[in-house]
Amino acid sequence: MTRTPTSTHDSLARELARRDAAWWRDLAARLAVSIGGVSTILFIVAIFAFIGSQGFEFAWNRLSWSELFFGTRWEPTVSPPTYGAWAMIAGTAWITAVAMLVAVPLSFCAAVYIGEFATGRRREWLKILVELLAAIPSVVWGVIGLQVFNPMIQSVFGVQIGLNVLNAGLILGLMAAPIMTTLAEDALKAVPDSYREAAEALGATRWQVIYKVVLPHARPGLSAAVLLGIGRAFGETIAVLMASGHTLMAPGSVFDSAATLTATIAAELGEAAVDSDHYQALFVLGLVLFFITFAINLLADRIVRGRRRS
């Protein structure tokens, strides 16, 4: 396209005021992107408001918080009802702890292998497979817990019930490992290669490079990976419900069945009458979960950011 040179002042002014297609596309794109960005905040606030509104009246007027956190009996349908969530809190903590014992070594080893040892095609394939592993639906993991781990735990450890903390922890650990692997590998990748080169030039072996230079430098990112993995384990519902045995008693060992906060909400919300105390109490549990995961994510974010600033 050829443009005629603007000879008079008038036509230059018109030319400068012209809005071409690119200008409009830019405006549209900026609008679309900002709406997307702002809606994230909107959703968080809306969800928080919804959960809060459902449980607020009950939590404010009739709930004893000390009973909620430390009470051992969760009997919302008995008269008089009790709302002690200690068993679920303990169950969640136990199962998450076992999950991390499984997931942290597994994902860190995988990340170190993918990030530091594997090269070329093998590395690309592994990354794809890890992401594929993260995409397995949680109900499938639940079925594996029920049908595979359950009899396996019974026969290996000689226990009566294979649906317990160990089972749910293993399942959750395997579920959290892929995302933790991806995050940990990102953290390793962020370590400048000049550090590795410097250490190798001084005569460090590959392993010395990794544990003396790469891992210490990647520690904030690795901590964030663990925290997000914990968040993932906390929030998982259906697989734990299927694998944990769902028993409302604080577990004393990994071979005891247990219940988690999420599984209890999932299992009981359907049978609780809308707006009943029981219904509202479940929303209070949801609120507790929300705060815990929120705090974990915030902490992970702080760790990563804090490192970047320094």
Partner: protein
């Protein structure tokens, strides 16, 4: 206090003639994948002097330098044939471990690359990798002081040895990168354009340091800077397209180059 014997330049050169060569490269060929970067390189680097490798970008001078402590092998796709002997020992031989090679042949990089550790830990890093037994704190302190004195950094950093090395100025970082090679008592120091990330003042300080270290170590330095090669080396090796074109005393090369290509290059007609 650590006292370093100073040698006069002529003494250094006499020493260089008598001592066995620091590095002997014989029929060295090197490929990156299918691309051949070095062709039949034969080269003898004398002991105790500074030898500069010059040539245009891509001529293979860095590749040759990086072959001398086998850091090239970090890239999985490098193939090398021929031999490189350091003090008479083939570093590519079956018995040679590249870990040990690197303790004896230190390397300084283009951009100062101190590790994200304290100054003290940086100096001791190589030593701790190679020490066969645990050193006492006093031994380590002595080692740190001696290494930092050798690179003329001690007085500037002695009160902040626990500070992060990455907080030092670029000049100090580069000197630290030289200092951390010294505790493993290397015989050869390789330097890959060690001043190219530094400002003129820092360049001159690091050059002076390199000149000071001469005699104690055999130094092979890659440089793009003709003036630097001229003022800070005893011998010069001119490379082109993966081959050694000319190797002579620095003065001789700059005053009366034997090859047309050499004179074209040092007069700035290409490169």
């Amino acid at each position: 206090m650590v006292d370093l014997p100073k040698r006069r330049p002529d003494e250094v050169l006499v020493h260089a003639k008598e001592a066995p060569p620091a590095i002997e490269v014989a029929r060295l060929n090197l490929w990156y994948g299918k691309f051949q970067a070095l062709h039949d390189v034969d080269l003898t680097i004398k002991s105790g002097i500074v030898t500069a490798l010059i040539g245009p970008s891509g001529c293979g001078k860095s590749t040759l330098l990086r072959s001398c402590n086998r850091i090239n092998e970090r890239l999985g796709y490098v193939t090398t044939t021929g031999t490189i002997k350091v003090l008479g020992e083939d570093i590519y031989g079956e018995q040679a471990s590249r870990i040990q090679v690197r303790a004896h042949v230190g390397m300084v990089f283009q951009r100062p690359n101190p590790l994200p550790l304290s100054i003290r830990d940086n100096v001791l890093f190589g030593h701790r990798l190679h020490a066969t037994r645990h050193s006492s704190r006093a031994d380590e302190d002595g080692m740190v002081e001696q290494a930092l004195r050798e690179v003329l950094l001690w007085d500037r950093v002695k009160d902040r040895l626990q500070h992060k090395a990455t907080g030092l100025s670029l000049e100090e970082q580069q000197k630290l990168c030289i200092a951390r090679l010294l505790p493993t008592k290397p015989t050869v120091l390789l330097m890959d354009e060690p001043c190219s990330a530094l400002d003129p003042e820092a360049t001159s300080a690091v050059e002076d340091l390199i000149w000071d270290l001469r005699g104690h170590y055999s130094i092979l330095i890659v440089t793009h800077n003709m003036a630097q090669a001229r003022r800070a080396s005893d011998e010069c090796v001119f490379m082109l397209m993966g081959r050694v074109v000319e190797h002579s005393a620095t003065e001789a090369m700059f005053v009366s180059p034997q090859q047309q290509q050499t004179s074209d290059y040092i007069e700035g007609r290409f490169g």
